[in-house]
Symmetry: D3
Subunit: 192 residues, 6 copies
C-alpha cells in the first residue's frame, strides 16, 4: 500500500537509484505487511539549483559503494592471494577474529596462522546478507569451505560464516566462525 | 540531503512509524553518503477513505512484528526451557542446523542432542543485526556462550553466532555456528 | 503505474472522497494503459488554516451532487408522476426533446404530448454513463421501455436512450431517442 | 481549490499529458464545486530508474488512443465506405445494434440492411461525449442525419445518437438510435 | 502558477500557519511574476511520530513571535512611558541611534536626551514593513510625529522612520531618522 | 524542521531558483524557530505540458527583477547623473519626498532643489533590506552621506535612509530621510 517518494539532486547513476529503491522497498516490508505489489517507490530528481538546506546549496552525497560488492571483492582478492589489493580495502582500524585466534590486525598474521591449519582453502557462498546500521553496514556471508588439509587429504562441505563491517567503502572488521574445529574433533574421536 | 516522504493509511502505532522511519533512514544511508542530519523522513497519514489502489479501497497492512524482538523472545524462551512458547514461534517449515548436526525440525531433537554436549549453556549477546530481504528478514546475533560441561567444569567466552529467518512474525530457519568444537579440540590437544 | 495525489481541505464525507478517487482512477485509465492495480490515488487533507490561494484562505468547494444520482431521482419522480419533485430538479433553462417533438420547456407539455402515444410507460435501465465536460456533466442512460399502448395492448423491450446535462445539481437538458416510431412503423407495415 | 499531482515515468508526448491533465481536471469538477481556476494539475516525470513497484522496475503504460478520435476515424471510414479500414478498428467481439435490427457482427450485414432503408446517408455531429468506465470508455455522439431515400427524395435534420465502447484502441460495441422510424411513420400518416 | 507545499509537525496555532502561508506567498511573488490567484500554499501536518531528521525525532520549532507585533508593543510601551515593559523587550546587546546622537544603550539615556528636544511627542504610523534576513528580521515603520515643543507650541506632521532588528522575539537595535532638525532649521531660518 | 517543496514550470535560470529558495527559507524562519540546518527547500520542475490550471496550460511567470538590484541601479544612475537611465526605471506614478520637500514627480525637480543644499553628495551604504508586500516590494537602504556644501566645505558621516517601492521592475516611490537638517542646525547653533 505505501508510496515512498524520495527527492535527490540529479546525477546519480541508474544502479544507485535502483539499489536505493530496493532498499527503501525492503525497509517498508520490514515494517508493514503490505502486499509487495502495493509498494511504490518514486525518485524525484531536482536540479542542483533546486535544492537548498540551511539556506545553502548542497552537493549530492557520493553513492555509497555497495557493501556486499566490497566484501565480495575482498574475499576474491584473498582467495587469489592478492594481498596488496586486499590490504587496500581495509580501514586503518581493521581487526579480524578467526576461530580460536586473538584479534589480528594484519593479513600476514592470518596467512601465517592458516599455514598450520590447512594447505589451502576456498569458499562456496550460499548467500550474502546486508544489515544497514547506524554506524556502518554489516555484511554476512555463509556457505561451505573446501580445500586440502596439511596431510593432503581433501575436505569439503564444512560450514562457515563471515561477518564484515563496511563503512565508507572500507572494511573495518571481519569475524569468522566455522565448523573446522568440530570436524577435526569428530575426526579425532572417530580415529580413536 | 534526501527527503523521504511516505504515505500511509492512518492508524499505525507510534513505534511502528518510528521503526519505519529508522529503516528508511538506514536504507538511504546504505545508498548515499549524505550527512545524517540531512536525511529527513516524513510520514503522511491519509484517512482510509483517502486511499485507493486499483479503484479499490485498501486496508492498511498489519505492522510487521519486529524481527529482532521475535528472535529475542525465542532465545529467551529457549534459555528458560519454555518449549511450548518457543514452539509457537516457529513456522511450519522450520529447520535448524547446529555445528555438526544434520538439519533438525523439532526442538526436542535439539534438546536431546545438546544433552551430550554440555550440562547447561547460556548466551551473552554482543549485538543483533537485521538484514531485510525479498523473502523475509534475516536476524543475526552473536556473542559468547557460558555454562557447564558434562564433567561439571564451567566454561565462558566461547564465541557463537546465530542466524534466523523471520517472516510474518514466525521463525523459519535457525543456523548456529560456534567455537565449542574448536575449544574442545584445543583442550583435547592441550591435555595430550 | 501512476500515483495521483490530491490535496483537499479537510471535511469531505467519505463517499465524496471515494467518488473523487474513482473518477481520478478512471481519468488515468482513459489516458494511459496502466495495469489497474498500479494506479494509486492518495487524498491529502489539510486543515482550513493549511490552505491558501492568492494569499487568501479558501473555503472548500461544496461536494458536487452525483450527477447520475440526480438523474435517477428525476427519472423516478417522473415515473411516479411526482411532477413537483421533478420540476424542482430542473434548471431555469431546462429544455427537452423527444422523438418527433420540438423542444419543450415544461413537464406538462411532455405529459400532454405523451397522452397521445401510450397509456403508460416505464423504463428498465441497462446502464448509466457519466461524461464529465467543461460545461457540466452529461449523464446517459439506456435500456428498454415497457408499458401499454392506447389500445390496451402491452409492449416491452423497446430500446431507448436518454441524455441529460447536469450542472450544479440541476438538470439543464434532456434528450430522448427510442424505437417507438420504428416499432409502430413495423406494426403498421406488418398489419398491412 | 484542489491540487492534483501525478507522477509518471518520463517519455509521454505532450498531447498525452495534456489529455490526462484535462481528464483529471474534469474528474475533480465532477466531484467538487471548486472554481475552475482553483484546480491545478501537476505532472511529475521521473526517470525509468526512478520508479519501482513491487521491488521491480516498470515500463510506462502505453498511451491510450483517444477514444473519441478512434470513433471519429471509424465513422469517417464508414461514411467513405472504406470498409477495410473500418473493420481493422473493430475488436473481435464487436457487435452493433441499429433501430429495429438484431445484433449484427459484420459491417457487411449492416450495409446489406441499410440498402433497404435509404440510398445514402451522412451524419452532422453536434457533440461527442466521453464517459470513462471501469471496463472501457463509452463514446457518445449525436446530431442529425441527411441523405436520400430510396425513392430519390432528400432528407435532413433527422436526429440520431450513437454509443460506442472503446477499449485498447478498438471498438467493441456500437448502438444506434435515431428518428428515421418516427419520420417515416409521420410521413406515412401524413400521406394517409 | 507555483504550488508551495510545506510539511510541519502538527500543533501550530492557526495564526502561525496563516502567517507562514502569507510569507511563503510573498516570497514567491518577490521572485516570480505569477498571477496572485495562481499561487497556492498547502501546509501538510504530520504527527510528531511521523517526522524524523538524522534518524532522530524532532520537536517542532517554537512559533516566532511576529516581529512587527513585537515592535508595536515596544512603541506603545514607550509612548505610555512604561519603561519596565519596554526594557523587558530589549536584547542584551540593544543599541539605538537617534538623529544627532551617539549610540545609546539605555532607555533612560534616551529619555534624558529627549527632554531637551520636546515636551512630549507621539507617532502616527503610516505603515509597517517587515524584511526577513539571515540574522533576524528588520521591522520598519514610518509616519509623522506630533507633540509639543519645549516652549509649548504644538507640532504635527513631522516625518519620521524607525528601523528595528528583531531576533528571538527581542529588539536588538533601533535606528531613528526624522525631520525634526529640518523643521527646526526651517523655523530658525524663517524666524530670521 | 520544515521541508518546503515548490513546483515550477521548467526554465528558470539558476539565480532565480536560488533567490526563490532563499526567500522561502527566510519566510519559514520569520515564522518558526527551526534550526537553520533543518529547513530544506526543494524545487520540482515540470515540463510546460505537465502543468495545467483551470484546465488551461499556463506560461511560467517571468522572473521578478531583483528589487534591491533595481534600486542599486537607480541609485548608481542618479549618482552618475545619468538621468535618462534613471527616468527609465521609474513607473508612471512615481513620486518622491525628501526632507522638507513636498512630493516631487520629476527628477529635474529634485536636481533643482538639491542645488540649494550642497555642491555634490554621494552615499556610502551600510545595508539593503527587502520587505515583500502584497502590493510590491519595499527596498530600504541606509548608510551615510558625504560630499561638499555650497561653500566648499566637505562633509561626511551624515546618516540617511531611503525607502523605495518596487513593482514589476519599476520604482513607484522614493522616500528619503537624513540628518542634514540636524547637522546644519547643529552647525548653526555651534556657530552662534
Amino acid at each position: 500500500m505505501p508510496v515512498v517518494t524520495i527527492t535527490l539532486i540529479k546525477g546519480y547513476a541508474d544502479e544507485v537509484k535502483t539499489g536505493l529503491a530496493e532498499r527503501l522497498t525492503d525497509a517498508v516490508r520490514a515494517s508493514i505487511a503490505a502486499p509487495l505489489d502495493g509498494i511504490t517507490v518514486q525518485i524525484n530528481e531536482v536540479a542542483p539549483s533546486g535544492y537548498m538546506r540551511g539556506r545553502t546549496a548542497r552537493k549530492p552525497g557520493a553513492p555509497v559503494p555497495d557493501a556486499a560488492a566490497v566484501v565480495r571483492d575482498f574475499l576474491a582478492a584473498m582467495e587469489a592471494r592478492d594481498l596488496n589489493k586486499a590490504k587496500n580495502m581495509l580501514a586503518d582500524d581493521f581487526t579480524m577474529i578467526f576461530p580460536g585466534t586473538a584479534p589480528m590486525r594484519e593479513l600476514d598474521e592470518l596467512i601465517a596462522w592458516a599455514k598450520d591449519r590447512y594447505a589451502h582453502v576456498a569458499k562456496s557462498y550460499e548467500r550474502f546478507d546486508v544489515a544497514p546500521g547506524a554506524d556502518g553496514v554489516a555484511v554476512y556471508c555463509f556457505g561451505t569451505l573446501h580445500g586440502e588439509w596439511l596431510d593432503g587429504r581433501a575436505f569439503e562441505g564444512i560450514r562457515f560464516i563471515d561477518r564484515f563491517t563496511v563503512a565508507d567503502g572500507k572494511i573495518h572488521d571481519q569475524r569468522v566462525w566455522n565448523d573446522i574445529g568440530e570436524t577435526m574433533l569428530s575426526e579425532a574421536r572417530g580415529s580413536t
